[in-house]
């Protein structure tokens, strides 16, 4: 019973435990044989130590406000207090002592959330020593966690804040069929990775379709399970991994049942790889799968059904436009570039209208970066996609298009209850833009995370300088 006290679970997890606990209590009687303490797995061994930065009550007035769920308010105001959005509208009275920012001619949006970043795991400078994103050697490395590679001093985090990015998912690379766990972070300074972890955000797990795993492992002379060298070898690898995870979960379920029945049973041996995979099967961990080609995605939709899990998003998804209807039917998001294409065969059919076409089909469209440079200008990526769609008659408003940058990413990461829109009660993750953010000339004047300023273009003390940059040429320069 003592061991159970260390458990910290999400809501669903706690509910399950309560059931087990009740059963155990019922089963515990004077006639029982002695049982060892119930062994359970701590699902959160690296808990978030995030503490919001100091913030002041702030009212932004006279702005063009995109609320992030499709609404646009001219002459709008946004009130932030205690780290939360208090009110969004046109006529807001602020309490005494509120900092009031006149945003005439400027725009306010929810903070940008990038669902695909390798900041910290492939940090700048890109020396060999900083190559911490792909644990090559085994095609299924579900037991590795990106947060254990996360270097909080990557100068890229500060640059992303200057681009209006308030949260992001940091992923392992795509060398493996299953690359490992991702971590969702708030774009705030941290001394250790845990300082940046987004509290209560579910874990993600990176998987990869197609060329990358088969190129990395494709020796061709080995057991296909160990070394996929073809797409069919890849799919064998995913399916066997899921089958192993099902078996592992059954063993734990049986242990819990037997324990609850009062039996003196030995728990299954911990397997860190299967812990993560089983977490997906239990619905606790979200799958984000690097997948370019429509046919690869189509295959994975069936693997998903076969093993009864949900793919939260296909990442890169350059051919989503070919199967946007199926993606809508299956509730799978596509995280896409505006116009990157062609660098390998599976990216060859990329088109500039991918994002608006996915949106038009009623599927969940996300603009992502996968780049320490691109993450700084995701608003421009959305603008290009919007314009390309409009040019061929797909009429989408700027207010709707902003969902590609905040709400849809938040949904795919499972944090949309906390952030992603400007709604009362949500975290005050907000960007004040110098102009219409669909313009190349717009800059993020101020970026707020939980109501605290994490970037201010007018205040050098609010422009992050990473430890690495101290004492080097360019320290503290305009970036």
């Amino acid at each position: 019973m003592k061991k159970r006290m260390m458990l910290t679970g999400t809501g669903a997890r706690s509910a399950m435990l309560a059931t087990v606990l009740t059963t155990v209590l019922v089963a515990c009687g004077p006639s029982d044989t002695a049982q060892d303490g119930f062994v359970d797995i701590n699902r959160d061994p690296f808990p978030s130590s995030y503490t919001p930065l100091a913030s002041e009550t702030t009212l932004i007035v006279n702005a063009t406000v995109l609320d992030g769920k499709g609404g646009m308010i001219e002459g709008g105001s946004v009130l932030m207090d205690g780290g939360k959005i208090k009110q969004v509208g046109t006529d807001i009275t602020a309490p005494d002592g509120t900092r009031v920012i006149d945003a005439s001619g400027r725009w306010v949006t929810p903070g940008i959330i990038d669902v695909h970043s390798h900041l910290g795991v492939y940090a700048s400078p890109g020396t060999q020593s900083h190559s911490d994103g792909n644990e090559v050697g085994d095609p299924v490395t579900a037991g590795v966690w990106a947060e254990h590679s996360l270097w909080p001093q990557d100068p890229g985090f500060g640059r992303a804040a200057a681009g209006g990015v308030t949260a992001m998912q940091l992923l392992p690379g795509s060398a493996n069929l299953v690359g490992g766990r991702s971590v969702t972070i708030k774009n705030v300074p941290g001394r250790v990775a845990q300082d940046m972890k987004f509290p209560d955000a579910p874990y993600g797990m990176k998987m990869a379709c197609g060329e990358n795993p088969k190129r990395v492992y494709g020796g061709g002379n080995n057991n296909v399970l160990a070394r996929p060298s073809t797409r069919m070898g890849n799919v064998h690898g995913y399916r066997q991994a899921w089958a192993d995870a099902q078996d592992y979960q059954r063993r734990w379920n049986k242990y819990e049942r037997d324990y609850a029945a009062g039996k003196d049973v030995l728990p299954p041996k911990r397997n860190l790889r299967l812990d993560t995979l089983a977490g997906v099967l239990r619905g606790e961990i979200k799958v984000h799968m690097h997948c370019y080609r429509a046919d690869d995605m189509g295959t994975m939709l069936d693997v998903m059904k076969e093993f009864n899990y949900q793919i939260a998003s296909f990442q890169h998804a350059v051919e989503s436009y070919k199967i946007a209807d199926k993606l809508a039917d299956n509730g799978v998001c596509s995280a896409m570039w505006a116009d990157w294409y062609g660098f390998k065969m599976e990216a060859y059919d990329g088109i500039r209208e991918n994002i608006p076409f996915v949106h038009k089909a009623g599927a969940c469209a996300i603009v992502h970066s996968d780049s320490s440079s691109g993450i700084q200008r995701l608003n421009q990526e959305a603008a290009k996609a919007l314009a390309d769609g409009r040019k061929v008659g797909v009429d989408i408003s700027k207010a709707d298009a902003w969902q590609w940058l905040s709400l849809n990413p938040a949904k795919s990461l499972g944090i949309d209850g906390m952030t992603g829109t400007l709604e009362a009660g949500k975290n005050a993750d907000v960007v004040l833009w110098s102009a219409d953010p669909f313009s190349v000339y717009a800059k993020a004047d101020m970026t707020f995370v939980d109501g605290a300023v994490v970037h201010d273009r007018a205040d050098p003390s609010k422009q992050r300088v990473a430890d690495f940059e101290l004492g080097h040429v360019g320290e503290g320069d305009v970036k």
């Binding site: 062609g342 088109i351 940059e469």
Partner: protein, 434 residues
């Protein structure tokens, strides 16, 4: 001689363009009317412009000018008209799919001699990236190799993106020799900058013309010996020292100390240097301006990506321009050559004047590579590379409505637009199970 010869190639290309281009359309006389034209890079603004073009070049740009008989009219009311843009560095036409695709001819890493590499043997006018690029308003490009066996990375060419044959596309070949002296080059060429530079200096010393007499005008001993005839790369290196129009040396360097070596190279040997890459060039902008060395940069680079790039900032373009350095722009990579326009817009957002950013995409690139008598402005007699934009070309939500290359209107069609048109309405099977 070299430049004169390559200019002749250019003129021949113009003459040939009068017949037929890849688009299959015939050359015609066109009047683009009612738009706002920028005749000289980002300058020379003409409102309500009548831009008259023909396959032989720009005829005139006159506000409210009449349309002569026989000209097809293109309405550009409310639109912007500029010269076609030029990327100052790419491997356009030299490879289709960079990773695990076909052979990438830009990567000549097994070449026996990196200096002699000539893009004419590799350029593929039917490469799909070319069409993807030109329909976004980029009509000219520097194309060059990305790699060779060492840090001498071949001869670059200037291409126009409308031709259907190598001869038509290459307007000027062998316009520069590329030398890489950055941190990566040092690592793979001797393992140290000192080892690498020793080899570079040796090659240049060998190629440098030997004085025929000593300081006192006396014949030197051994002058009667017939000099050994140079071949291959050694012969090309001699062109760096040619009288009149020497072959420019394009030097890739980032760290300030490496850039200063490039400046010294120019001073010591009297050769013509173009600096490329140049992350930290802004720190010695005054020295570069004084040495009359133009700089090619990607204006987006702002991360300390490597130890020779620590001072990277996206204010580079603005600072170099302010110091009087002639700047042109590199795209993020070849596939994204078309994004050079967005990069230029970002340079403006970081303080570069709009006019200067458009200059960087046109006249500056033309002047740096010695083709400004031919391309780069809408002046009478220049080739008719003209783009009609549906707004400010540097904006991210604008795009071309018409693209003319050497007087030919290019259909706004590519593999990508064909895929787009095929899937705009998804061919969903009626019996599809959800």
């Amino acid at each position: 001689m070299k430049m004169i010869k390559s200019l002749c190639t250019g003129i021949a290309a113009i003459a040939l363009a009068g017949t037929v281009l890849s688009s299959g359309t015939w050359a015609e006389d066109v009047a683009i009317i009612g738009g706002t034209a920028f005749t000289n890079g980002g300058k020379g603004k003409v409102e309500n412009a009548t831009v008259l073009i023909s396959s032989s070049g720009i005829v005139s740009v006159v506000s409210g000018g009449p349309v002569p008989e026989g000209y097809r009219t293109v309405d550009a009311s409310g639109k912007w008209v500029t010269a076609g843009f030029m990327v100052a560095g790419s491997s356009l036409g030299l490879g289709e799919v960079s990773l695990s695709g076909d052979n990438n001819d830009a990567r000549a890493d097994k070449a026996k001699d990196g200096i002699v590499l000539d893009v004419a043997y590799s350029l593929n006018p039917n490469n799909a990236i070319i069409a993807n690029t030109r329909i976004e308003g980029v009509t000219r490009a520097v194309t060059q190799f990305s790699r060779s066996k060492d840090n001498w990375i071949g001869l670059g060419a200037i291409i126009q993106l409308g031709g259907d044959s190598v001869d038509k596309m290459i307007t000027h070949n062998k316009t520069f020799l590329h030398l890489d002296v950055d941190e990566g080059a040092a690592r793979s060429n001797g393992g140290s900058r000192s080892a690498m530079w020793a080899e570079v200096i040796k090659k240049l010393d060998d190629a440098k013309p030997k004085p025929k007499s000593n300081e006192n005008g006396e014949k030197k001993e051994g002058d009667n010996k017939k000099p050994k005839e140079k071949k291959g790369g050694d012969k090309i290196l001699v062109e760096l020292f040619a009288d009149g129009l020497p072959l420019p040396l394009q030097v890739n360097a980032h760290r300030v100390s490496d850039i200063r070596q490039a400046i010294k190279l120019k001073k010591k040997y009297g050769i013509h240097v173009i600096l490329t890459g140049a992350r930290e060039a802004w720190m010695v902008a005054d020295e570069l301006a004084a040495a009359d060395i133009p700089v090619l940069i990607d204006p987006l680079d702002n991360l300390p990506s490597r130890f020779d790039m620590l001072a990277s900032t996206s204010a580079s373009a603005a600072r170099l321009h302010a110091a009087g350095v002639k700047v042109a722009f590199l795209p993020p990579d070849t596939l994204n050559a078309r994004l050079v326009v967005q990069s230029a817009g970002n340079a403006v957002a970081m303080g570069m004047p709009w006019e200067a950013a458009v200059d960087a995409l046109t006249v500056n690139a033309a002047e740096i590579f010695g083709v400004s008598d031919h391309y780069g402005t809408l002046a009478e007699g220049k080739v008719a590379d003209v783009v009609v934009w549906d707004g400010d070309p540097l904006e991210v939500m604008t795009s071309p409505d018409h693209v003319f290359i050497q007087g030919e209107e290019i259909p706004l069609v590519s593999r990508q637009t064909k895929l787009r048109d095929r899937y705009k309405e998804i061919p969903r099977a009626p019996g599809l199970k959800k």
